[in-house]
């Protein structure tokens, strides 16, 4: 298990006394996430690195169940989402991450949310929603803006820092080089070449973050910004990206909720939808 993988359980809940147990499984390009709800409350959450999606779906589910005594057969409804959703073979239904993201975001932040930026490992999406968490429209990144999230990992590896550190490092420099803000391949290449100059690694990291944030901001502008604005997905945890985005868009996102990892909010949305489907069934 890599350091980004984890599983946590809410010990205060007793699944044995529950009437309804459902799950949402989000198989993303870089990470797979699960949220298990017990009578509508988050009970277990887990995350593993995505490899072969079918196996990752099983792995992340088992990670959530481990040490709880709960078994998969007791989960009454599962919704699969994410780019690997067709590979969540044990799901009763699959729903796009767009719809799940809107549902999850409004549940976490409340009915004032209208614009959700889901900045994930492989792609970024802007989702518009109603106060009830119903998605009304979306804009997906164009191909040239693919892979920004994962490129942060590749970058961190190159400079031998942790993924969780580079955002803070990127906040440090006042001066920074201007890198290509329309293509991550160009930006990465230019960043590497900067070592020929007097620019420090910290400044390069800042420059890279600013360029990628600008890239993401044009997506949000194209889609249209309506407050309140929230950010979910892995990049929501990168303070330099968030900071630069807010400055460019001139809008602050709603503060992150300490009890919620922004990476699992889509899975949470999927679990809530599983609840709704299960209710309609019964």
């Amino acid at each position: 298990m890599s350091e980004h993988e984890y599983a946590s359980v809410n010990e205060k809940l007793d699944w044995k006394k529950a009437r309804v147990i459902v799950a949402g499984v989000d198989v993303g390009a870089v990470n797979s996430k699960t949220v298990i709800l017990v009578d509508g409350q988050p009970y277990a959450v887990s995350q593993v690195a995505t490899r072969a999606p079918k196996e990752s779906a099983l792995k992340v589910m088992n990670a959530a169940l481990a040490n709880t005594g709960l078994t998969q057969d007791k989960i009454q409804y599962t919704v699969g989402t994410g780019c690997g959703r067709t590979q969540v073979t044990f799901a009763q239904k699959t729903i796009s991450e767009i719809v799940c993201g809107a549902t999850g975001a409004v549940h976490v932040w409340g009915p004032s949310v209208r614009t959700v930026l889901d900045a994930g490992g492989q792609s970024c999406r802007v989702i518009h929603c109603t106060d009830k968490g119903k998605a009304t429209g979306f804009l997906w990144n164009d191909k040239c803006a693919a892979g920004i999230g994962r490129s942060m990992e590749a970058f961190a590896d190159l400079i031998k820092k942790e993924l969780t550190e580079i955002g803070d490092i990127a906040l440090q420099s006042e001066q920074f080089p201007k890198l290509s803000d329309f293509c991550s391949v160009y930006a990465q290449s230019e960043a590497l070449d900067l070592m020929r100059t007097k620019v420090s690694p910290e400044e390069v990291i800042t420059g890279y973050h600013r360029a990628m944030a600008r890239r993401i901001s044009t997506l949000v502008s194209r889609a249209g910004m309506k407050k309140d604005f929230v950010i979910i997905g892995g990049l929501a945890k990168n303070p330099a990206i968030v900071d630069a985005l807010e400055n460019t868009l001139k809008v602050h996102r709603l503060a992150p909720k300490p009890e919620w990892d922004p990476q699992v909010i889509v899975a949470f949305g999927a679990a809530l939808i599983a609840n709704a489907f299960h209710k309609r069934q019964g």
């Binding site: 198989v27 390009a29 870089v30 690195a49 995505t50 490899r51 072969a52 999606p53 079918k54 994410g82 780019c83 690997g84 959703r85 067709t86 590979q87 492989q122 792609s123 191909k143 040239c144 693919a146 892979g147 994962r150 990992e153 590749a154 190159l158 400079i159 031998k160 293509c183 991550s184 391949v185 160009y186 990465q188 290449s189 590497l192 070449d193 070592m195 020929r196 690694p201 390069v204």
Partner: protein, 264 residues
């Protein structure tokens, strides 16, 4: 020409820094280190490893030549490089050193790839480098290995097990990666996705190299030359035989080391 003198060559690449010690026609030792964001430190480390492998002390080294994208950066102390040579020259000379019959070397680096055509004495006849959109094919290899949960050697093994020909987008590493993950998410086998990813690299490299007449023998430099699966596709796409070299990732460093003798 003093055959007893030991020379060091440092190839300071975008992602990896390589060092080699040469005496006459003999390679005494080699070593490498991650360039990270500190080329000078990486050169130090690589050189130290090469010295340890060769059981040679720093004082026995008569001269150091650097090449690679950061060849000027590593001129700084404490490396004390006496000369720098451009990559194409180092590639040509290094390839010739390892294979007297070679006349074309295709260097597949982490960020940049190029092809060099040279004569029997290592003089440059032609050189071509990738366009910017095709940057990063080496880094792409590493990223795909990670995405598929295998080591760099493992990616080759995985690709060799492929039974179905898939295609990924050819525009650039970012779109190739996007589609490769997409294929996995559709339920395609990791082995087939791995092979498709390698074919993307070979397509880009071969397309670039083919704009030049490829004189035999054609050899490949860079770490990816050790990837069996990749090297299986290359001759097919080039429509040319490709001869394997020993120590392909040290071609540039070797070429640099032996370039010292050319100094006036």
């Amino acid at each position: 020409m003093n055959k007893e003198k030991i020379f060091a060559g440092i190839d300071a690449g975008h992602v990896r820094t390589k060092a080699v010690l040469v005496r006459g026609k003999e390679i005494l030792g080699y070593g490498s280190a991650a360039t990270g964001f500190d080329a000078v430190n990486a050169a130090q480390e690589a050189l130290t490893r090469a010295l340890e492998a060769a059981k040679v002390s720093r004082d026995d080294v008569a001269g150091i030549v650097s090449t690679g994208i950061f060849r000027d950066v590593v001129k700084a102390l404490p490396i004390a490089v006496q000369r720098t040579v451009p990559e194409y020259m180092a590639d040509a000379k290094g390839a010739l050193f390892l294979n007297k019959n070679s006349r074309t070397v295709i260097d597949i680096g982490a960020n940049v790839h190029k092809a060099v055509h040279y004569d029997k004495d290592g003089n440059l006849l032609d050189v071509i480098q990738n366009d910017k959109c095709a940057d990063g094919v080496g880094i792409f290899y590493t990223t795909m290995a990670k995405a598929l949960g295998v080591s760099e050697e493992g990616l080759s093994e995985l690709a060799l097990a492929s039974t179905k020909q898939l295609s990924v987008a050819i525009h650039c590493a970012a779109s190739a990666e996007s589609e490769a993950i997409g294929l996995l998410c559709q339920g395609e086998e990791a082995a087939d996705v791995a092979d498709a990813s390698l074919r993307f690299i070979v397509e880009r490299v071969a397309a670039m190299a083919s704009t030049m007449p490829l004189e035999q023998e054609v050899v490949v430099a860079g770490g990816l030359a050790k990837c069996k699966a990749l090297m299986k596709h290359l001759p097919v796409l080039l429509k040319q035989d490709v001869t394997l070299l020993n120590l392909p990732e040290y071609v540039g460093a070797i070429g640099a080391a032996i370039s010292y003798e050319g100094e006036k």
